[in-house]
Symmetry: C2
């Protein structure tokens, strides 16, 4: 959206809300007419769900389908919940198989059989086949509608196949080349077909194929597709037989969804289903409250740690002054390490097997950072308070930074190893964990140095 488009949408949303509340559907329809499909998508995303359903019904059938397919998965699920059964069944029949599976993932499991019954036999088979693949696998996100060619066919023969598939295949710009056993032996692009002589055989034209296995993680397959700028990635089963194709636009959609979830979890929030401004306040509260409670309960650890050192605190109130600074710095160091390693995991740059290398790197990085901050803390606290306090602060910073960076770096790998989303060990989680550890280190050092 350009700023001008956003302005249009924002004004249209206000008009639509007013017109619907006045029962003026003809007026609302007139507001929709000049808007482009992307603008309607943005509009639907900004309206409350009841208004969004009314807007959807006011659209012409073809346009409505276009809008629906461009909505985010969460928004699609919500919209379907607000439509009547007969409308949903009609919509479902019009969708592509991969969009259908994506939608079913957003709906209660009981809805699926009823919707599938509304399909033709062939469509139902395509969709059910995809539903059989594991959750979050590329098998549920690929398209089963592709066009192939074979090594011994000529360019002219292949172009005939392409023309026959123009109406149905997900893409005709990248063609998997398969042998007699449906195994993928290469790919050929439409561009290469057009620039070759008509009687060239495909075997001379095809190049090596990147492949995804159908049970592979959808995010990993999508990442590979965009990383290498492939217009389409063939998806194969365990015997290397072609079962589907992932196009780059679907790969980008998958990554957008994953990035949004990662960003949310990293900040300790459950991902929203719809856009921020159209999400009801109670849903925003719900997306945050569980994590906040878990973290607050975790933070009672810090109360207990401090409680057990209360005698020391009462004797030296000055120690209390540095508590937020020390645990804050520890939290920041831990977050930095966790952020870097979580992102590297998402990009496939590190795997849980790199645990020892990551740990050794983070210990060194944390120690270097701690040394730097520690010297500074020693000098400042020493000058302003006294050199004993300075020594305590300096040593604590060295220890806390080293421990925090190590924990922050290792946590995401541990999460991945036990097959939990690394972003779940989010920054707030690490902060809370490091807080308690940092306090123990602080008071142990204080007791040792100050002899109390």
């Amino acid at each position: 959206m350009t700023p001008t488009q956003l302005q249009n949408v924002s004004e249209a949303a206000d008009d639509i809300r007013r017109l619907i509340s006045q029962g003026d559907l003809a007026g609302a329809s007139a507001v929709l007419t000049p808007l482009s499909v992307p603008e309607v998508v943005e509009l639907v995303d900004r309206l409350g769900i009841e208004d969004a359903a009314i807007v959807y019904r006011l659209l012409a059938k073809a346009r409505a389908l276009e809008v629906f397919e461009a909505l985010s998965p969460g928004a699609r699920g919500d919209l379907v919940g607000a439509l009547r059964n007969v409308e949903v069944t009609a919509l479902f029949a019009e969708m592509d198989p991969d969009d259908r599976v994506w939608l079913l993932d957003e709906l209660p499991a009981t809805v699926a059989p009823q919707l599938l019954r509304g399909l033709t036999r062939q469509e139902r088979d395509l969709t059910s086949g995809m539903l059989g693949y594991p959750h979050a696998s590329i098998g549920r996100r690929m398209s089963p509608e592709f066009v192939t060619t074979h090594p011994h066919l000529t360019v002219a023969e292949t172009l005939v196949r392409v023309r026959a598939a123009l109406g149905s295949a997900e893409t005709v710009y990248t063609l998997p080349v398969t042998d007699g056993g449906r195994r993928v032996v290469g790919v050929v692009s439409l561009r290469d077909l057009l620039s070759a002589e008509e009687d060239t055989v495909i075997a001379d034209l095809m190049s090596d194929a990147h492949l995804a296995e159908v049970t592979e993680d959808a995010e990993a397959a999508a990442r590979r597709t965009t990383d290498y700028g492939l217009l389409a990635l063939p998806v194969v089963d365990r015997e290397q037989r072609l079962v589907g194709i992932l196009t780059i636009d679907d790969a980008a959609r998958i990554l957008k969804q994953e990035e949004s979830e990662d960003a949310a979890r990293q900040g300790g929030v459950e991902p929203l289903r719809r856009s921020y401004l159209s999400t009801p306040i109670r849903h925003l509260v719900r997306s945050r409250v569980v994590w906040l409670l878990v973290l607050a309960v975790g933070a009672t650890l810090t109360v207990q740690v401090l409680d057990s050192f209360e005698a020391t605190l009462a004797q030296m109130t000055v120690l209390a002054l540095f508590v937020p600074l020390l645990i804050g710095t520890g939290g920041n160091t831990g977050n930095q390490a966790a952020t870097t390693v979580t992102r590297s995991l998402a990009l496939g740059e590190v795997t849980p097997r790199d645990l020892r290398r990551v740990l050794s790197r983070e210990i060194r990085v944390g120690f270097s950072l701690g040394l730097l901050l520690g010297m500074l803390g020693f000098a400042l606290a020493g000058l302003i308070y006294d050199w004993h306090i300075g020594t305590v602060i300096g040593l604590t910073l060295v220890a806390v930074c080293t421990v925090a960076a190590s924990i922050g770096g290792v946590m995401p790998l541990a999460a991945r190893a036990i097959r939990v989303d690394p972003a779940v060990f989010s920054n707030p989680f690490i902060t809370t964990f490091v807080d308690a550890t940092g306090l123990i280190i602080y008071f142990l050092i204080a007791k040792a140095v100050l002899g109390i």
Copy 2:
């Protein structure tokens, strides 16, 4: 990368390091031969920069260019720094104009004129034209090599143009349709061309075009391209004249780069230029130390706040026990709000003009969360310590959560309004800011309730 591929690369990297240190380049070359281009890219990204340059030199020329183009922008910049001038000049001449501009953005400004001199006149003009567009604009990321058609041409005539451009155009799958003044009036896909009759005129076949203005933010244009699954987005100047085209694979590359930067800044780290495992320890320290220092200096505010309340603290040591819990909860609430709003900004769902709506939502969300946690805190602290303390903790949680959510929600919008990357007001930054505010609120409430 599949796990097996990663394993291969990891082993190959170990072998290559050993062989290079033994001076056995023939052996290193033999290790490279069976690897695919993506595997070599991953390998180069994992090696130290000197070893990476040697590996690059061992590759056949065409393969070397393919590997280079698939590297991340930072890795490309580093590699160029390790190659000799004559090698860089040859490489530069082989690249596409958009890749050239991307590379120049990574290199010192003084290098550009020298590299541009090595190009043919036409290539130089294409590249310099792009360098004239603002930093971070889509003008610097688009491709100036496109093929167009006109409304009055037939399908057959257009296909002749497509065939002529097969070797040079960035894409032939989406064609911008331009009028006599080079203004874009629509787009037509190769798929539609192939399914139409040969004598159909383009005017009857073309559909409305999504467009980007050449000075528009590259991320916004890229986001639009992937959101609507466009294979290519025409880029126009102020007079709607076509100047370039953004393909979906380039859009995905732009978004990957932006997402990585956002993720890093969100955690208070400067983005890394290369993959985590190949980044030297001193670079990792450098990517974190500045933020950590800034935040630590900011955190001295908390020392001052506590110092000014030292008399209260000495009188009631029990107040110190809750400091980490209270400021931690405030920090978490602020982070949650900031994370949600920052992501919505990146997706174009909210703009700085939505400031008042965001503020009003975050006040309500923060108050709801505070009320919930506050009641819990009141009950627990009341039961374990006494009901005065319980009242202080409860009221503080309500106030801190409300303030933290408001600050966290508004900060990213304020950053965007003054044209700073919203992710710069990262979670650690908000935590530090909220810490000091939270402490003041805490002690003011404590003094009022406890009458000290």
